[in-house]
Amino acid sequence: MIGLSHYLIVSAILFSIGLAGVLRRRNLLMLFFATEVMLNAVNIAFAAISHYYNDLTGQMFAFFIIAIAASEVAVGLGILIVLYKKHGSLDLDDLANMRG
């Protein structure tokens, strides 16, 4: 029987994968995907907990996260496109003009 803890473990694994992606990826686009993975991991958790408590709040939260993730992508991709136009690259390591 798949219980709450299973969902939570999946969520935690997904979150960790996302985090690892954020930390390791050099390509900005991949990095965005990684953050999406993290947010979706949270969504799984919320949905599962919501079910567990039989409470709708968690699902609501998940919906909001989906919405926000969508707008994040919108804004983020917009910035990325401009950046790509300017730089011609989405590699993180090229993006270190300001430091110190």
């Binding site: 979150f15 953050t35 947010l39 991991a41 949270v42 707008s71 983020g76 950046l83 003009n97």
Partner: protein
């Protein structure tokens, strides 16, 4: 079986939503105006924005203390009102900086002002709720707007800044969401007051502390990012540098006020529950932040970057106040920001008026120290005023930041953290060095040749802003008392 949902308008208490709605509506109006006539001058938008914010301010002032509204997700307590007021005032003060004598292209887009108003609304939502969803929505609304505004500055550095801020913001959003999920898992609620009740009831349970630890660390990481606390501060110098000076100044105040309010709500709750290690991590973060940011600021070559580190350090300084969990401590946060606001406004405005389209002094920086060399000879009043702001930031009495500092330190002493007060004092002394460095450049060095255009961007509105900032910085001693008693009243009314 299904009962019709009855929602009475009174119970919704929509007035609590009015301020944010006003700002959003204002933003929409600006967009519509642009649709009708796309040739309108930026000054119209600036003035419209200010007007909208003034109305917003009026609506906020009119709110009653300790009310809830809109299915109880809106929380209008004392700190929500004062923080909204501070946010709006700061927004009003920073808006006229668009009216430079030289044209900077982001301000020619009406979208800039619409986004600005949406951002303000987002911050207002953040502070006016104890519902984690609403906080998250407000946070993201404001952040996404802010990223865009930064990118609008249309320079290579701005994009870089926006991307860095955005990416790290996304990660912190992940942390926040995960943290909320853990809280939800623990308590079955995302309303902070219910969370507090549940936790209080279950606090003795075995293993609960571990979960609380996880949630609070995730949430703390999310807000430490927003508050630019060490080691989550790394974005701040780059973003300040990449953003335009007004936006950088704005970022040093408003998002932090909003984030502080949320931090107070969440971690104040933990502290009230008697979870002592929260206090420790707050203090450690605070000490690390103010010290390391200070020493890093010592070695900066660019004034704006130095001010970025200085803002980080100030944030660290104030962060400690949360750990005291006293009315004075909470009051000191708002007092500090209220006073800091004017000085920082002035300082960043001074940078803004000296901003050139091309870098004339240094290939990398817009505002290297050399640029201000001998400013006393070129524009004496400008130099004196800038020096006043620097001294204020350094905490020299009787300028505004001093009163904030002393109040935070008094709160520390009262809460029994005398050593922390001493650390704060010593940090202020270290900080004095880099502020003085600018004073030294302005007053004690000779001008670099061919610097006729230091006050390149100066215009009447900017002069007015600087004048206001100067008066507020110098005359702080005269309004600290009413400000303090108002803050005190509001904060104690909301039980902090």
């Amino acid at each position: 079986m299904f009962e019709p949902i009855k929602v009475s308008m009174e119970s919704l208490n929509l007035i609590t939503l009015a301020p944010m709605l006003l700002a959003i509506a204002g933003g929409l109006v600006i967009l519509v105006l642009d649709l009708i006539n796309s040739k309108l001058h930026k000054s119209l938008y600036v003035m419209l924005t200010i007007l909208i914010l003034i109305v917003d301010f009026g609506a906020t002032v009119g709110l009653n203390v300790n009310e809830r509204g809109f299915f109880d997700v809106m929380l209008i307590d004392g700190i929500s009102i004062i923080s909204q007021l501070l946010i709006i005032v700061a927004s009003i003060l920073f808006t006229p900086l668009a009216l430079t004598s030289k044209r900077f292209h982001e301000y020619s887009y009406p979208e800039f002002f619409a986004l600005f108003l949406f951002m303000v609304a987002g911050f207002q939502f953040m502070v006016a709720s104890d519902n984690l969803i609403l906080i998250f929505v407000g946070l993201e609304t404001s952040s996404l707007s802010l990223y865009t505004l930064i990118a609008l500055h249309n320079r290579a550095n701005s994009y870089e800044a926006a991307v860095k801020y955005f990416t790290m913001g996304a990660l912190s959003a992940g942390f926040f969401a995960m943290g909320s999920a853990v809280v939800y898992a623990l308590t079955g609620s995302i309303e902070l007051y219910q969370v507090a009740q549940v936790l209080a009831a279950r606090l003795g349970e075995h293993g609960l502390m571990l979960a609380i630890l996880g949630s609070s660390v995730l949430l703390m990481a999310a807000f430490a990012f927003k508050l630019s606390l060490f080691p989550f501060h790394t974005w701040a110098p780059d973003v300040y540098e990449g953003a335009s000076a007004p936006l950088a100044g704005y970022m040093s105040i408003v998002p932090k006020i909003a984030a502080f309010v949320v931090t107070i709500r969440i971690f104040g709750m933990y502290l009230d529950l008697g979870i002592e290690w929260v206090r420790d991590i707050i203090i450690i973060l605070s000490v690390l932040t103010m010290t390391l940011a200070n020493v890093m600021a010592l070695v900066q070559e660019d004034v704006k970057r130095m001010l970025a580190y200085s803002s980080i350090s100030h944030a660290g300084f104030i962060m400690a106040a949360i750990a005291f969990d006293t009315t004075e401590g909470t009051a000191s946060i708002f007092l500090y920001y209220a006073l800091f606001m004017f000085t920082n406004l002035g300082a960043f405005t001074m940078l803004w008026i000296s901003r050139h389209k091309v870098r004339r002094f240094n290939a990398r920086f817009d505002h290297p120290y050399e640029k201000f060399s001998g400013l006393i000879k070129i524009m004496p009043m400008g130099a004196v005023i800038m020096a006043l702001f620097m001294l204020s930031l350094a905490g020299v009495p009787p300028f505004s930041v001093f009163w904030g500092k002393i109040y935070v330190m008094q709160a520390a002493v009262n809460a029994g953290y005398v050593w922390l007060a001493i650390v704060m004092g010593l940090n202020s002394a270290i900080a004095a060095y880099y502020y003085l460095k600018l004073v030294v450049y302005m007053f004690l060095k000779d001008p670099v040749k061919d610097v006729d255009t230091v006050y390149y961007n100066l215009s009447k509105p900017l002069m007015a802003v600087i004048g206001l900032a100067t008066v507020a910085t110098v005359g702080a001693i005269f309004y600290v008392q009413p400000l303090l008693s108002y803050l005190y009243y509001m904060i104690s009314a909301s039980g902090y």
